[in-house]
Amino acid sequence: MAEEHDFKVAVLPCNGIGRLVSTVVRLAGYRIKKERPEQVVLLSSGRLAVQDPEHLATFQKYPVLVIDGCRPHCASFMADELGKTPAGRIYIADVAAENRIAIAGDKRRGLTEKGEKLVDALVKKAVAEVDRIIADEMLSTL
């Protein structure tokens, strides 16, 4: 009997609150899911931090793409703490640099066009990573 495969990527955005980039990462998470609704499972850093069993099971089941907002790389820390090497990591500062987007002056509680540009760039990069990870998973079964 052929083995059934469930090719998905668990996306773990840091979903912090303290920084302006926290808002960028949070919004990007939802939109990544919208872009790839069947391929992405969105993880809550809140639930994972306390090892909620259902969330932990999802984290362990699928390859993970972490998205870090600021220097402590909290989403990466969480993945490492839970003993799993992410299949991909994105750091928002890299995305900002690659796309030459500056968001100084935007506010945490709501982004302007500047911040939305960075969200779009992050979503684009993350979706490409999701596609790559799934392709890698699929090819590894052949």
Binding site: R47, A49, V50, C74, R109
Partner: protein
């Protein structure tokens, strides 16, 4: 005697969590900037010193989106006890808010629902400060 309260949101993904985080920006930035600090869950989990200091120095008001109480549990994971836990679901019920009518993903800080929830959270902060005297 505490001169500040640490606002610790759960930072989940559901609508109630979004309502909570936006309300906390209003509380911390507009209503009680000198009386509150804003705790970041992922940073606390990663032992970022500032966030660890927050929960050690100040009484923690855990602001939860649901009954999973992730913020309260995270504070406990770091060996502290939240001074008070409140749930956005309960606040919304008490305020007769129609959560169905709110947008997903993002709610403007000026939204009456955010402002109303922020007011209630600010009341909890004042109570905690008063009780710590």
């Amino acid at each position: 005697m505490a001169d500040k309260v640490c606002l610790q949101p759960c930072l989940g993904l559901r609508k109630e969590a979004v309502l909570g985080r936006q309300a906390l920006y209003v509380v911390h930035e507009d209503m009680l900037p000198d009386e509150t600090v804003l705790g970041c869950g992922p940073a606390l989990n990663a032992n970022v010193q500032e966030d660890v200091d927050f929960i050690n120095l100040y009484p923690v008001l855990a602001v939860e989106a649901c009954e999973l109480d992730c913020a309260t549990k995270l504070v406990a994971k770091k060996q502290k006890k939240a001074a008070r836990t409140i749930r956005i679901t309960d606040l919304a019920k008490g305020l007769n808010l129609d959560l169905e009518a709110l947008p997903e993903e993002h709610i403007e800080a000026e939204d009456p629902a955010v402002q109303a929830v922020a007011k209630r959270i600010a009341e909890h902060v004042r109570e905690l400060l008063a009780s710590s005297k």
